[in-house]
């Protein structure tokens, strides 16, 4: 007994080091999360170090305290909240419109080879076109109001989204469709009750990813005739070389993107409990 216990102890202490370095092995979530935290702290200290020792001029990279002051200022003046909400509104609207159109088309393309053959080559060509280049054209087409900004966000997300939803729909196993047809279901019923239900988690993930991309197009969208918005604030700061305001804006966009991302991840777990059989 004594001997066995000692083996057990040896094993468990050894297993701790083993685990960290082993291919694909799980590590305690404590370590997992603190690694992430430590990395953020590391980056922060590096930033502090580079700026406070004047290794980099503040014009090139302002220190964290300058960005923090700018944050407080914008927060205090109410600009920050106003910008964030204006941007969020545009992002959501652009993304929702893109989604409303992309979902049915993606479903058609995923289910019917005819539509896939018809639209895929065209979308393949278009999706590499740069949204920035469309800015003057969108002004000509949609004026300078919110609709122009939303059009840019639409161009930035729609084409990728359609292709991704097509792939989601294609991932439904053929057998599930076949078994439904043996119950006498019509094509429409199969589409609604089987294909869409099965593809939903994948589509939800596509929503998360495309909404994230929409954030990266925000600055381009708010290039023109905006008077608020995080992207607008960045453009404006560029004019006056207010690097701390640029950095703040970039951080804010990253953060907003991360938050919307996390909301989708969270609802995913709530909505699709059946995926890991947790009921």
């Amino acid at each position: 007994m004594d001997q066995i216990l000692s083996v057990k102890e040896k094993e468990s202490s050894e297993s701790a080091s083993y685990r960290l370095l082993d291919l694909r092995s799980d590590i305690p979530s404590r370590i997992y999360w603190s690694a992430g935290g430590l990395f953020f702290i590391f980056i922060f200290i590096l930033w502090l170090f580079l700026t406070s020792l004047k290794i980099v001029s503040p014009l090139f990279l302002p220190g964290p305290e300058a960005v923090w002051d700018e944050f407080l200022r914008q927060l205090h003046e109410g600009i920050l909240l106003q910008d964030a909400s204006a941007s969020l509104y545009r992002i959501m609207l652009g993304w929702i419109i893109s989604t409303i159109i992309a979902v049915p088309i993606g479903i058609l393309m995923g289910n019917f080879k005819l539509f896939e053959g018809m639209l895929e080559p065209f979308i393949d060509l278009i999706r590499y076109m740069p949204a920035v280049a469309f800015v003057p054209l969108t002004i000509l087409w949609a004026g300078v109001g919110n609709s122009q900004k939303i059009l840019i966000l639409f161009i930035g997300t729609f084409f990728q989204e359609v292709l991704m939803i097509m792939d989601n729909v294609k991932s439904v196993p053929r057998e599930l469709i076949e078994v439904s047809s043996t119950f006498g279901l019509s094509r429409f019923e199969i589409l609604r009750d089987v294909i869409l239900r099965y593809a939903m988690p994948g589509i939800w993930d596509t929503f998360r990813i495309t909404l994230g991309w929409a954030w990266t197009y925000l600055v381009v969208a708010e290039l023109v005739a905006a008077s608020s918005g995080l992207g607008y604030r960045i453009m404006k700061a560029q004019r006056f070389l207010q690097t701390e305001s640029i950095i703040l804006g970039i951080l804010m966009i990253g953060l907003m993107g991360l938050i919307t991302d996390m909301i989708f991840k969270f609802t995913y777990r709530k909505l699709f409990r059946w995926l890991d059989g947790k009921g």
Binding site: L59, I139, W141, V224, A225, K236, R239, L241
Partner: protein, 299 residues
């Protein structure tokens, strides 16, 4: 002016340029309302966006540089130049690092500037005056907003840009100085107020009122310089003390001065601008500009 019963809506495209400052004064002081106008000042960041917006018909009027007006006219846009707003004296300039002392020194140096803009004009004009051309320097095209930054980072030896960038750059670094200013050819860099011809037809009264607003705002500027400059600085997103040199670098034109200019001086200026514009490739042949200018509103 008599208080009107109903208001007319006008959309005016602008950029954060102090030369368009009187419009913000008008906004701040309620001058538009006074004349029964409901004006919306739509703020753009780059020329090309104002151009596109004006071309799309989304703007009834726009504040643009003279050469831009020529360009828009040359591509067949139906517009009327109704007012010369300002000319730049030292608000557009060629900035250099300390070791360069003349335009001739630019030979072989890299110069940052934005193509197709006032900077392009100024640079070309300056080079031509010294017997050089673009092929003698190494051009580094980029947005005017980035040109100063680039000069600061030491990647180019010269940058052509305008206010407020000039002030920003000079404030940040004393190894950089102004080499050449727009006042060397007065009017070369100037701004005009254009209206859509289609819209103006039937809205003659509104155009006239707009010019009256401009005049009155300009008057306010002259009478309350402190206050007026603060309004403008706020609008372009800067602090008044940062813009002192900028304000000194522009010369505004009121309606009276326009009466003279639009029927004389400025016509020759336009020809000069057209020639330099042509040399930078803005258009291939110089069109007939007789239909562009409509001096009737300043009479």
């Amino acid at each position: 002016a008599p208080a009107p019963e109903e208001t007319t809506k006008v959309r005016i495209g602008t950029q954060p340029w102090i030369g368009y400052g009187p419009w913000w004064i008008a906004k701040d002081q309620g001058l538009f309302e006074k004349y029964g106008l409901e004006a919306e000042l739509v703020d753009f960041i780059e020329d090309k966006e104002v151009n596109a917006a004006f071309a799309s018909g989304d703007m009834n009027a726009a504040n643009i540089a003279t050469h831009t007006a020529l360009k828009l006219f040359s591509v067949g846009l139906d517009l009327k130049l109704v007012l010369v707003e300002d000319i730049s004296t030292s608000a557009d300039a060629i900035l250099v690092s300390n070791e360069i002392s003349s335009i001739a020194d630019l030979k072989g140096k890299s110069v940052a500037y934005e193509e197709g803009t006032t900077s392009d004009l100024l640079l070309n004009y300056a080079l031509t005056q010294s017997g050089l051309s673009l092929s003698d320097i190494s051009p580094v095209p980029m947005p005017a907003s980035d040109a100063g930054t680039t000069l600061l980072s030491g990647d180019v030896q010269a940058a052509v840009t305008y206010e407020p960038y000039i002030s920003e750059i000079l404030k940040n670094n004393d190894s950089i100085k102004i080499l050449y200013k727009a006042e060397e050819r007065p009017g070369l860099i100037s701004d005009v107020f254009v209206v859509s011809a289609k819209w103006a037809q039937g809205n003659e009264e509104t155009v006239r009122k707009l010019l009256q607003v401009w005049d009155e705002a300009l008057q306010y500027y002259q009478e309350n310089p402190e206050d007026a400059r603060k309004i403008i600085a706020d609008a372009v997103g800067s602090a008044p003390e940062d813009l002192v040199t900028a304000f000194d670098g522009v010369q505004f034109f009121d309606v009276n001065e326009n009466q003279k200019a639009l029927s004389g001086d400025f016509l020759t200026t336009i020809q000069d601008v057209a020639m330099v514009s042509q040399s930078i490739g803005l258009f291939e042949t110089i069109p007939d500009f007789s239909n562009l200018i409509d001096a009737s509103y300043v009479d």
